[in-house]
Symmetry: C5
Subunit: 269 residues, 5 copies
C-alpha cells in the first residue's frame, strides 16, 4: 500500500488551494492543424501560456514534451495514448504512443490516458489502461483518465446515466483524476462527482465557447458541483487573453469570486 502514498503526495503537487487547473493541447493530433489557428499552431506559443498562466500542469503528447518541454517551467502531464481523425470511421481506440518509462524520462508529474466506455475496443483499452495505471503507480505518478463514452453502443454521450456510470468505472479501475465532459446540468455534475468518489473530477473544456461569460458560467457551475477542477485547451489558448482566462478561472475556483467578478480580468490584463 505504501506506493499509493506517493501517488497522493504527487496529486497534492498538482493542486493550488486544493483545486486543480490544467492547460491541455493534444488537438494537433486529435483534430489536426485546422483546429490550431494562427500562432496556436506553434507549440512554443502554447507552452508559453502554460508557463505564464496560473496552471497546475500542462497536458501534451510526447513529441511536444520532447522537443519543446525542457525550455518551460511548468508541470508536464504526458498524454500516453491518442489518435487522429484520418483513417476509417469506427468505434474509437487510441493506441499507446508513449510508455510510462518515457514519461518519467521526460519528467512528467502525471500521465494521461483516454478510455472510451462503450467502445467495441473496450477490452483492449482496459488492458492498455491496466498496464499504464500500474506502471505509473510504481513510479508514484497519478493517472488522469479521459472518460469519454463513445461508440455505436452509446446513443447519447451526455446522458447523465452514461456519464455517471463512466465516472464510477474510472474509480473502480483505479484512475486518480477523471477528465470528463459537463452536460450543462449542475445536478448531473454533482452526481457525476459523487460517482467518481475519491477519484478527482476535472471538467474537460470542450470546443471554444461563444463568449468568456458563457464559459465562466460553466466553470462556476462545475466548481460549485464539487469538481476538483478543469483541464482546458481551446477555451484558453484560442482565447485572445489566455493568461487572463487562467486567472479568471482561478478567481472562481480558488478565490471565491463569481463569474461576473472574474470577467473583470479581461479588462485588467
Amino acid at each position: 500500500m505504501n506506493y499509493y502514498k506517493d501517488v497522493i503526495k504527487a496529486m497534492k503537487k498538482l493542486q493550488t488551494g486544493g483545486k486543480t487547473l490544467f492547460l491541455a493541447q493534444d488537438q494537433g493530433l486529435e483534430h489536426g492543424p485546422e483546429d490550431l489557428p494562427g500562432e496556436t499552431l506553434n507549440p512554443d506559443y502554447v507552452f508559453n501560456i502554460a508557463e505564464k498562466g496560473e496552471f497546475d500542469g500542462f497536458i501534451c503528447q510526447k513529441g511536444l514534451a520532447e522537443k519543446y518541454g525542457s525550455s518551460y517551467k511548468v508541470n508536464k502531464i504526458i498524454k500516453l495514448n491518442g489518435k487522429s481523425l484520418l483513417g476509417p470511421k469506427d468505434d474509437p481506440y487510441s493506441p499507446v504512443l508513449c510508455s510510462v518509462r518515457k514519461a518519467v524520462d521526460l519528467d512528467a508529474k502525471a500521465v494521461g490516458f483516454t478510455f472510451f466506455p462503450g467502445s467495441k475496443y473496450q477490452y483492449k483499452i482496459a488492458e492498455d489502461f491496466r498496464k499504464i495505471q500500474e506502471e505509473a503507480h510504481d513510479f508514484g505518478l497519478p493517472v488522469t483518465c479521459w472518460l469519454y463514452p463513445r461508440g455505436k453502443a452509446i446513443k447519447n454521450d451526455l446522458d447523465p446515466k452514461v456519464l455517471s456510470y463512466s465516472a464510477r468505472i474510472g474509480l473502480e479501475i483505479g484512475a486518480d483524476i477523471l477528465k470528463m465532459k459537463y452536460n450543462g446540468n449542475p445536478k448531473d455534475m454533482q452526481y457525476q462527482v459523487k460517482c467518481g468518489g475519491k477519484a478527482k473530477m476535472l471538467m474537460a473544456g470542450g470546443p471554444k465557447a461563444k463568449s468568456s461569460k458563457d464559459f465562466l458560467k460553466q466553470v462556476e457551475e462545475v466548481n460549485r458541483a464539487g469538481a476538483q477542477g478543469f483541464a482546458i485547451g481551446r477555451n484558453i489558448w484560442k482565447h485572445e487573453q489566455p493568461i487572463a482566462m487562467s486567472k479568471a478561472i482561478r478567481d472562481i475556483q480558488v478565490r471565491g469570486k463569481d463569474r461576473y467578478s472574474a470577467l473583470k480580468r479581461f479588462d485588467k490584463d
Copy 2:
C-alpha cells in the same frame, strides 16, 4: 508441491469455524451506479459494513482497494477482472484490470476472477486465468473463481448440468474457491458441491431477495447442501440492517441455528 501448502494455509485464514462468508461489491463496475442506491454509492459505507460485520473478507476492484482499503481492518480479496454494461452486446469477456502483483501490493488475502464457461471468448478467458492462477499460487494466494456459464451457447445458466459441469471445470483448472449461483434446488447444489471436489463452493448472493426470510432460506439450503459458504453483495449492503444480516447468516452457517432463529437478529440489532 510446497507452494500449495501456503495456499491451504491462506485458505484457512479466510474461514470461521471452517466456513466462509465474504462481502462483495463490484456492482459499481458491473452494473453501474444505478445499482448502488443512496449511501451504498459511497465505498466508505460498504467498507464500514465489511469491517463491522462478521465477514472473512471483502471483495472489490483495485480502485476501491487503493483509495479506501487501507483505512479498514478487513481481509481484502481483489477482483482481478471485470467489465461494464456499456459497450456492444456480445458473449461476455472480462478484461484483466489488476495484476496479481498489484493485489499483493494492496495486501490482498486472495484474488478473484470471473470465468464464463460457454462464452465464445473462453480461450482468452482460460489464458488469463492460467496466468493469474499460477502467479497467485506463486505468492501463496488462493484464487476465487466466479463460474458464470454464459454466452449464446448457454441456453439456461441455471440448468443443473451446466452448473455441475462449470463446478468441475473450476476444480480441473485449479480454482481454490468457486463462486456460483444457486438454482434453488438443494439437490442440484449438493451435486454441484460434489463436482467442485476440494475446490470450495460459495453461493453468489444474486439480486436483492424479496425478504430477509427468503434470502435466509437459500442460505440454509445451500449450507445444508455442503457448500463452504457465501459471497454476498446486494443482500447485505442493500439491506437496512447489513451487520445484522451478516450475523444472521453466521447463525445458520456456523452456529447451527435455523432461519427462523436467525431472523431474530433483525429485532435485536
Copy 3:
C-alpha cells in the same frame, strides 16, 4: 544435444519391461461430470486406482494434481492444455491451462498436450506446442502429444492416411510419446507406429468398450502392431475391477499372455 539424453532417461522411468501403461482422467474437463458416474466423480477414487494398479503414470489436469496428487505415490503426467464441451461449436482448440514450470513444481514426470491436426486453429496449436515442447525438454521432461485429427477439413478421423500423417507430424514436431486412436485395423496401426518412428505410440483407450474381452482384443492387436503402450481412462476407472484390468493389460503387454489368459484376472481379483 545433451538435454535430450535427460529426456531419454526420463522416458525409461515411464516404462515397465520396455512398455508403457498410463491411466488417464481428464474427462471431468473434456466431457463434464456426466461422464464420471458414481464414485468416479471423486478424484480420490481414481488416484487410488492409479496408485494401486500396475501403471507407469497417471495423466490429469493441474487442478487434480494440486489438490489430490501429493497424497498418492504414482508418476504424475500433467495435461497442459484442455477444453470443455460448453461454448460454441467450432474447430477444436485447447487453451494452455498449466505452464511447464507449474508442472515441474507439481513433480510431473512428463507433460501432455493435445494437438488437433486439421483444425483451423492449427497455427496457434503449433505455437503453443513449440513453446511447451522446448521448455519441457529444458527441464528434461518427455512430451506426450495427443494427436487427434479434427475440424471441418477432416472428413474421417479414423482414415489411415489421416492417422499415419498425424503420427508423422508428431515425430517431426518433436513429440516424445504419441497418444492416438486405434481405428480397429491392425495393419493401419502397424504403419501408424512406423510413421511415428522413435516417437513412442500409445493407444488412447476411447469410450467404454462393450466388454472386457472386446477391449483386451484391441490391446492385444495394438501391442502386436508394435505400439509402445496404452493411455487409458474410462476402460479402467469405469470398470468394475479397475486394478484387475490394469493387470490384464500388463499380462498381454509385458508378460506375453493372450487376451483369454488375461481375462482370468477378473476371476482372481
Copy 4:
C-alpha cells in the same frame, strides 16, 4: 530529458551547413527489381554513389546494410519496416523487418520507419512506431518517419489538409525527421513545414522526374519553403550523372545557387 540531447547531437551529424540530403534505395523491396534497371540493381553501384556523392546519409534495408554496408564510408540510416507489392490489395501496413538493436549493431546513425496516416492498420503502425521511437531514442538515434497518408479513407494523398495533418502527427508522436511528399504547391509545403514544428521536413524524391531541370525546380521550391532537406532515390541513382545531381542539389540547398546555375553541374562532371 538528457537522452534527447544525444538525439539532437546525432541530428547535427546528419547535416551539412544546417541542411540534410539523404540518398535512399528501398525500391528493391517496395517495388521490385523492375524499378532497378541496369546497374542500379547492384547494391554496390548505389552504395558507391552514396559514398562519392555529397550526402549526409544513405537509407536502405537491413539486408543491404549487412551484406554491402561495411565496405562504404557513408552514414547509414536503416529502414526498420517495409513491404513488397506482392500479396493482396489492402490498406497498407509495413511489418518491422529490423530491430533498433540490429540497426545499432550495423552502426546506423539514424533509423527510418514508414507510417501510413489513414490506413486501417494505423493502430498497429502506431504501436510499432512507439516501440521503435523509444528504443531508438534510448540509443540516442534520431527517427526518420515516412508520413505517407494512404488507405481507403484517404481520397487524395496530396490534399494539403491531409499532408499538413500528417506532418503534425509526425511531430506529436515524436518523429525527429519527417519524410513527406511535395504536392507541387510551395505554399502548401511552407505550411507543411510549419506543422512539423521542430521535427525536420525532408522532401521525398518520388518517381524519376522528366528532366533534371524539372526536378531541381522542385528542390528549389521546397528548399525555399523552409524544408530541412531531401531524401532522394530514383532521381539520383537512376540519373546518368548521379554524383553531379547530388552536387546540383547541394548548390541550391547550401550554396545559395538557383536551379539554372545548379544545372551546370551536369556539364562539368
Copy 5:
C-alpha cells in the same frame, strides 16, 4: 558489424569448392508419409544418405534432429517453421516449430525458414522471419530462406517477375541463402541469381524428375546460371542410387563435368 563476420565464416563451412549442396527432408511434415515410400519413411535411411553422400549439410525439422541427428556426422540445418497439408485450404503460413536457441542446442550449422511472398499472412511471416534472422545472426548462424511465392494474389509462381522479385525480397530482408524454384529458363535463373545479390541462390529440387538425365540437365543449367548450389530432397533420397546422385551433382557443380559425364556415376556405384 562484427557479428556478420561470424555468419560469413559459418557460410564458408557450408561450401565445397565455393559451392553448396544440401540434402533435405521435410516432406514427412509438408506432404505426409505418402510422399515417403518404402525405406525413405525411416529417418535413419535418409540420415545415412546425408552422411555417406557428398553433402554440405542436411535439412530437417527439429523432431528428426533430436531423435536421430546425434548419431550421424553431417552438418545439420534445422528448418524452423513448417506446416502440414491437413487443415483448411487457405493462403499459406508456416508456424514456427523450433526456436533458434533449440537449433543451437541441436548443433545446427544454419537454420531454415519458409517465406511465402504474396501470402495474405505475409506480415506475420515477416515478423517471424525478423526475429529468427536476428537471433540466428546473434549466434553467428546463416539463415536459409525458402522463397516460395504463393497465395491467391500470386497467379503464376514461376513467372520470372515474381521469382526475381522474391529473390530481391530475400536479399533486402537479410536472408543469407535463398532456396528457390527453377522455372526451367536459364536466363530467368541468371537474373534471379543477380537479384539475390550477395544472398546465395540454391535451387530447390522439386518433385522427382522423370529421369536422372532430366534432373542433371536442370543442375547443369542452374549451375551455369551462377547459382551457389542446390537443396535437394526427393531427387536424391527417392533415387535408387542416392549416393551416386550426390556425386553426379558434384561432378557438374564443382568438378567441371557435363551432365553426360556425370551420368556415368550411376554405372560406377
